[in-house]
Symmetry: C2
Subunit: 175 residues, 2 copies
């Protein structure tokens, strides 16, 4: 499959709107449900998405496209958001995520001038050399992963409630 930036942007632009419809106004029972100790509830997932916008995708892309010779990505702290946004309401988190995402999509469109940039590389701390097109594709799939996580966490809350239907509902049998 040929890499199409426009297809990635379709997903990136939708995610904040999907999450707004999904989570704003939802009762605390849903927003605070998780999959057990050390797992995130739907509200905490949004904190992680905000941090990924601030510290991960665009900063990494900027590093790759910059003149710097050291292309090694700084590590991304995937847990600091648990403290940082601890007392934010879901509305505040979604508003912040929507605005930082919109800024970043605008930056992305601005930064990519030419298809050859898709093949430029940076050095991921674990995976080694990664391409711009892989980074941008992962940005979209990362959104989908976390929409899926929110959906699964919510479904599992009704794990017992569905009675004998559990075996038929695949989502209840996943981690």
């Amino acid at each position: 499959m040929t890499f199409q930036l426009s297809e990635v942007i379709e997903v990136l632009e939708r995610t904040p709107k999907i999450l707004e419809q999904y989570l704003v106004g939802l009762s605390d029972g849903w927003l605070e449900s998780n999959e057990g100790e050390g797992t995130w509830n739907p509200s905490q997932v949004i904190g992680h998405l905000i941090d990924a916008e601030k510290y991960n995708w665009i900063p990494r892309l900027e590093l790759i496209l910059s003149e710097t010779s050291d292309k090694k990505f700084p590590p991304f702290d995937r847990f600091s958001h648990l403290q940082q946004y601890h007392d934010w309401t879901i509305e505040e988190k979604i508003t912040k995520f929507s605005s930082v995402r919109a800024e970043n999509v605008a930056k992305l469109k601005e930064m990519i001038k030419d298809q050859n940039q898709f093949e430029m590389t940076g050095i991921h701390p674990e995976y080694g050399e990664v391409k711009v097109r892989e980074l941008i594709s992962t940005w979209a799939v990362h959104d989908l992963t976390h929409i899926s996580q929110i959906t699964r966490v919510m479904a599992k809350r009704f794990d017992v409630a569905v009675g004998p239907w559990k075996s038929y509902l695949g989502i209840l049998n996943k981690s």
Copy 2:
């Protein structure tokens, strides 16, 4: 966990809005992608959700609450939608799903007058005796299952595109 009808309704009312933000205006590459032969693309999933509104949840609930002594659910055809909505646009499908869902949530609120109804039972063709509260819980989790399916199908389209990140993105390693 105590069964709370209001929590189920929160999910039932959100699903059409989530799916509208997710799918309306999305390009065909995304809408027509599936997980291989015999699997559904995101647009086909909406056809299935329309049929479940028409033939499954509310008709079964009506049967349980009715005076009829034969409480056996008629079987639900999970595949006829593939022909029936074959030439509908995604906008047409989402509009239909939204309207039939709104009617059904109104019926649900109208039909449930009293907590004792939650324990009333019908006979599922495969699972045998099932309770009203299990049927209603399953209705909501069925929505979540199909939101999850759409998300997974879309993510898998970028299975190769994400390069070395694949191992880290759990959604790409699920069926």
